[in-house]
């Protein structure tokens, strides 16, 4: 039963997440522009970008990065499918890591000096956020008694009431996961950084379009994780979850526009300390008290 549910969820996620993610990306650019005193592009600009990329000539340095990115997309879809069909939260977290790995390999395969450094930094980012993701899932389990995401509907109050500290830790690494400044080490949205474009330096046309679509899907998934903290009782409370997810999204844009990039040392240390303090203390309280 849940097998079919998951597969159905995966298909639906693969169809709907790019739409929602694309609109969010467009809104992100408009909000950022407004914060900088500009007008900004149309809402559908990310969609235009991807359509343009699909129309470009199909070229590649390694000849395999396109396939790796397809795999990354497939795993992202499964990860989202698991989450939004109410499946296992840990499985969702592990599969999205696999997607990140394929993205990293795609960059390494070009053997471009810029892409290799970008890929190395991307691995560092995964290493920085992975502990907090696991601790977040554990906190979720302790609050709900299950790793099944659907478990939140059986609660009498949203899990954020008992896991607010872990939620703060999660918000911290959300910035890394969304590759926003100050943690956009591997690849930045802004031109003229020292790595050209980091991970995506050698990706063009279709492959780059896949990267964009993957980012859209990831944004939706991670905001889903955020919203999960605020849902309880029944499906009607999903609206509360959506509202808080959007607030978190706005906060991330605000942070993106207000901070300069940090060095990897600062990212790794701060992320691990936050994981240890926020995740650790929260779990200790839930477990031992």
């Amino acid at each position: 039963m849940s097998l079919i549910q998951t597969l159905l969820g995966t298909v639906l996620f693969a169809v709907l997440a790019p739409v929602v993610g694309c609109l969010l990306a467009g809104a992100d650019r408009i909000v950022s522009a407004r914060m900088q005193g500009r007008v900004g592009p149309p809402l559908l600009q990310p969609y235009y970008d991807v359509r343009k990329l699909l129309g470009k000539e199909d070229v590649s340095v390694s000849g395999v990065d396109g396939l790796y990115m397809t795999c990354a997309l497939v795993f992202t879809a499964f990860s989202g499918g698991f989450f939004f069909s109410g499946g296992n939260l840990l499985m969702s977290a592990f599969l999205i890591t696999m997607a990140a790995l394929f993205f990293i390999i795609a960059a390494y395969s070009s053997r471009s000096p810029f892409a290799e450094i970008g890929a190395g930094r991307e691995s560092l980012q995964v290493m920085a956020y992975e502990p907090m993701v696991i601790l977040m899932a554990v906190a979720f389990y302790l609050a709900t008694g299950t790793f099944q995401v659907a478990g939140v509907f059986d609660l009498r109050h949203p899990i954020v009431c008992t896991t607010w500290l872990a939620f703060i830790g999660f918000l911290f690494i959300l910035t890394i996961k969304l590759r926003k400044s100050p943690f956009d080490l591997s690849s930045s949205h802004h031109a003229h950084q020292e790595l050209v474009k980091g991970v995506t330096t050698e990706m063009s046309g279709r492959t780059l379009a896949k990267v964009e679509v993957m980012h859209w899907c990831e944004t939706v998934l991670f905001l889903g994780w955020t919203g999960m903290f605020f849902v309880w009782g029944g499906p009607a409370t999903l609206i509360v979850g959506v509202v808080f997810a959007l607030l978190a999204w706005f906060l991330e844009i605000l942070i993106d526009n207000n901070f300069a990039r940090v060095k990897w040392q600062a990212m790794l240390k701060s992320a691990w300390i936050v994981a240890l303090v926020c995740g650790g203390v929260n779990i200790a309280v839930l477990m031992l008290l």
Partner: protein, 635 residues
């Protein structure tokens, strides 16, 4: 019964034959035939007993009882001979202490204690038999080709010790079978000591200063563990008056206060053999040996004997908190610190060694937790680790002989230089650390068992260790996948026997990962049920099936998809004028030529061995000492 006997005896016959037939051609035939027979016997045995309830065999043999002290004396004599030759007093003293202890034990304490059901087979020992029989003998076949190259690389006039080498490999397998099938703890101890001696001889194979030094480090640490085993034997006989392992576990569960000290001592023996901190240095030192030795020690024998014993003790860990906490914390700390130290290593074999120690730490911690879910996780960690690690060691060994280095940085472009080998290596690496492959599924089950037992510290250790694990595997994986220019394909000269073993391991990885749900529900869960009375599996069958499908997908991509695409090939961007794109060379600002190179991140200042090693050794030593004092007081 006959199967067990032949599994123990057959490798011994092969070992003797190998000492007699000393030419290459004869050796090839003997090794391939014996490996095939051992593998077939193991499979037949597994087919009979996998998933079946534990079967005990009435078997008493005065001959074997007489052999036990003789073997102990022979082991001591060998160590003393080496100790005197290489002037290592400490090893000699330890060996004599152990011999004295074991003789006193045999003739004073164990005298008159008979174990009637001295052999047994259950699912775990059948799984171990499969691992030893298929992976172990696969490594022996691989060694045929490898040792030819190895001998060719040796300096002119070096002695050819290969007959002894292969004989010891088979002796090792035999000793492992003794450990996994003996219900008589005295026999198990003998097998235990034989594996210690075999790995000593294998590590010292080249007789260089470094090899001998590391071999002595190994023997000293493992004899210390052996003495721990001996202490446990004394305690078991004094408290429970039996030498039967199954009776000990049954009685120990009833009288946990008596069991604390023997369990603690046995766990100590397990920790040394499984190379947990502070004893991890012997496994790192073992890297000087020829690669098949490393593969054997890491994947199917030696260290697996340690964790096998600990998993067997899991029901006792549930009732004896002191040794349980010792195993959990030592295992957990070892997992975290060794995963972190692996980041700073560029030597491929050293990375593999650290990863082995780290994963064994996880298995040890699972055994210490001892709940049904934890044992489920531990068994799968053992299986996947054995297969993936042997594949990786064999890949590194072959790569080393063909690219002339075992440094990960030199494995640049391996994807083109050794296309098949690189894909095998990628498969092995992925299996070690990422969903949907087996190792991560087992880690997932580990996490669930930690959460359900409220093991707060273990959860933290696992969470941070997993982050570090991702880092060191991902950058190695990335290094392999680079594509540039048209480098020469150097894998055409790889020996057939090496390919055979590599194909076997790669096939096993895919098969076991894809069949994981079936193995779990038909084999491991019934075993857990028979052990604890409740079936348990933390991950969920549906999730296992989806993981299985995704593994098949990745395998198809890896071996079917990554070929030349129809895309137009373009040159890489070098931020200036590139002159030779195949070597990433560009015109620099002085008008000269510079080659663009990128090294991976090793984060030496944060994750270097210096501080972490000391911290880990201190923490783990303190933990072990406290555990011994506490269980001694309880005793």
């Amino acid at each position: 019964m006959i199967l067990i006997d032949s599994l123990v005896v057959f490798p011994l016959i092969a070992a003797v034959l190998l000492l007699i037939g000393r030419t290459d051609a004869v050796r090839d035939v003997i090794v391939v035939a014996s490996a095939a027979i051992i593998a077939v016997l193991s499979i037949v045995l597994a087919a009979q007993y996998l998933g079946a309830p534990t079967t005990y065999f009435m078997f008493e043999s005065p001959v074997i009882d007489a052999l036990v002290p003789l073997i102990s004396i022979a082991i001591c004599a060998t160590i003393c001979a080496f100790g005197i030759k290489y002037k290592n007093v400490f090893a000699v003293v330890l060996a004599i202490v152990q011999l004295a202890g074991s003789l006193v034990f045999e003739f004073v304490f164990a005298h008159g204690i008979d174990v009637q059901l001295s052999l047994y087979v259950d699912t775990l020992s059948a799984i171990m038999a499969l691992i030893i029989g298929i992976i172990g003998s696969g490594i022996c076949v691989y060694a045929l080709g490898y040792m030819k190259d190895f001998q060719a690389h040796e300096p002119e006039g070096a002695r050819d010790r290969r007959p002894t080498f292969f004989a010891i490999m088979f002796l090792f397998l035999s000793a492992m079978y003794v450990i996994v099938f003996s219900n008589n703890m005295s026999w198990m101890f003998t097998g235990w000591e034989v594996t210690t001696l075999c790995s000593f001889l294998l590590i010292a194979y080249t007789r260089t200063d470094e090899a001998v030094r590391n071999a002595f480090r190994q023997i000293i640490m493992n004899i210390a563990g052996g003495i721990g085993f001996l202490v446990a034997l004394f305690a078991v006989v004094i408290c429970f008056g039996t030498l039967s392992f199954s009776e000990f576990i049954a009685l120990g569960s009833l009288f946990p206060s008596f069991a604390a000290l023997p369990v603690c001592a046995l766990a100590f023996a397990g920790l040394t053999k499984a190379a947990q901190m502070p004893f991890h240095t012997w496994l790192l030192g073992a890297m000087v040996a020829p690669t098949p030795t490393s593969a054997l020690l890491h994947s199917s024998t030696m260290v697996k004997a340690g964790v096998f014993l600990l998993i067997k003790l899991a029901p006792l860990f549930l009732v004896c908190p002191v040794p349980a906490v010792m195993c959990e914390l030592v295992g957990g700390v070892t997992f975290l610190l060794c995963s972190c130290m692996a980041i700073a290593q560029s030597n491929a074999k050293r990375v593999l060694a650290y990863s082995t120690i780290a994963n064994l730490g996880l298995i040890v911690a699972c055994a210490g937790v001892g709940t049904p879910e934890a044992v489920w996780a531990a068994i799968f960690l053992v299986i996947f680790h054995a297969i993936a690690k042997s594949l990786l060691f064999l890949c590194v060994g072959t790569a080393e002989h063909h690219i002339g280095s075992r440094n990960i940085e030199d494995m640049d472009l391996l994807f083109q230089r050794m296309p098949k080998l690189a894909r095998f290596m990628m498969l092995g690496i992925m299996c070690m650390f990422i969903a949907p492959f087996g190792m991560l599924i087992a880690k997932w089950a580990t996490l669930i068992s930690f959460v359900e037992t409220n093991s707060f510290v273990l959860i933290l250790l696992l969470a941070f260790g997993s982050g570090a694990t991702f880092m060191f595997w991902a950058k190695w994986l990335g290094k392999l996948t680079g594509i540039a220019g048209e480098p020469e394909d150097v894998e055409l000269t790889v020996h057939k026997s090496e390919w055979a073993a590599l194909y076997l391991m790669a096939g096993l990885i895919i098969a076991v990962c894809v069949l994981l749900p079936v193995i779990s529900s038909c084999i491991v869960e019934p075993y857990i049920a028979s052990m604890f009375g409740v079936p348990a599996q933390g991950v969920g069958q549906d999730n296992l099936w989806i993981a299985s499908v995704l593994v098949a997908f990745v395998a198809i991509v890896l071996f079917g998809g990554l070929r030349h695409s129809r895309q137009k090939k373009v040159d890489v961007y070098l931020s200036g004028v590139g002159t030779d794109f195949a070597t990433r060379t560009y015109v620099n600002s002085m008008g000269g030529q510079t080659q663009a190179t990128a090294r991976n991140l090793y984060l030496e200042p944060l994750f270097g061995e210096g501080r972490l090693k000391v911290a880990g050794e201190v923490i783990c030593t303190v933990l072990i000492v406290i555990a011994f004092i506490a269980s001694g007081v309880l005793f």
